[in-house]
Subunit: 130 residues, 2 copies
């Protein structure tokens, strides 16, 4: 199969927009702007411009069949998260994923449920088909 075309790593502002789209599903600029206005005081045309640029970059897809264009994330949330984690692992941990995991775990009190979930994942990895 063809490799997934690589989108550039989203910037901070772009990631905020992606998170809204992942959370709400496809949205107009207006919807994203209303959603983010409380925490980020940014003009409407700024948001529009950002989302246009993100579309050019391949981070978003745009449906222009309506007057108000409808945008959605091109990649699923988990795919982008995986890329970001992989990127951080290579930039800051020399590629050692388990070091990142240890750092993340040791800096956070996880609940018993979360610990159990992680254990289960480890079990699957060990017992798995390789």
């Amino acid at each position: 199969m063809p490799p997934t075309p690589q989108s550039p790593r989203p910037t901070d502002a772009e990631l905020e927009i992606l998170r809204v789209l992942w959370s709400l599903g496809p949205c107009t600029v207006r919807q994203v702007h209303d959603e983010l206005s409380p925490k980020r005081d940014v003009g409407y045309t700024t948001m529009l411009k950002l989302m246009q640029i993100m579309t050019d970059k391949g981070l978003l897809l745009r449906n222009e069949s309506q007057r108000s264009h409808v945008y959605r994330a091109r990649q699923k949330e988990t795919v982008t998260q995986k890329q970001l984690v992989k990127d951080l692992v290579s930039r800051a941990f020399g590629g050692a994923t388990e070091k990142l995991v240890m750092q993340a775990l040791s800096s956070k009190k996880a609940t018993a449920q979360e610990i159990a979930d992680i254990r289960k994942l480890l079990d699957e990895m060990e017992g798995g088909v390789q």
Copy 2:
């Protein structure tokens, strides 16, 4: 105690320099440049400028007692790694550290040893003083 003064998140180029300093210990610009030259074709004065700016930002400390100034990372590697992980967790995972851990683990075949290490850490977290 006074809170640790926050340094800005290092950029990609800055993180590369930090990694050299963490690995080799305090270095001159020349040493860092020699170390990075193979993988990054960048001029000497570029490296110098970057490290001067990093010093201004508080990412590096500089010893000027010699003609060739000696730079070192202000934060320990693990501290910066923790900050970067925390930052990514908040920007991309809505603060859910365990989601990042799961993503990291599921996208990597860990060795038996690494899995064992993580299990041990989980044991400590559960049995810990809490």
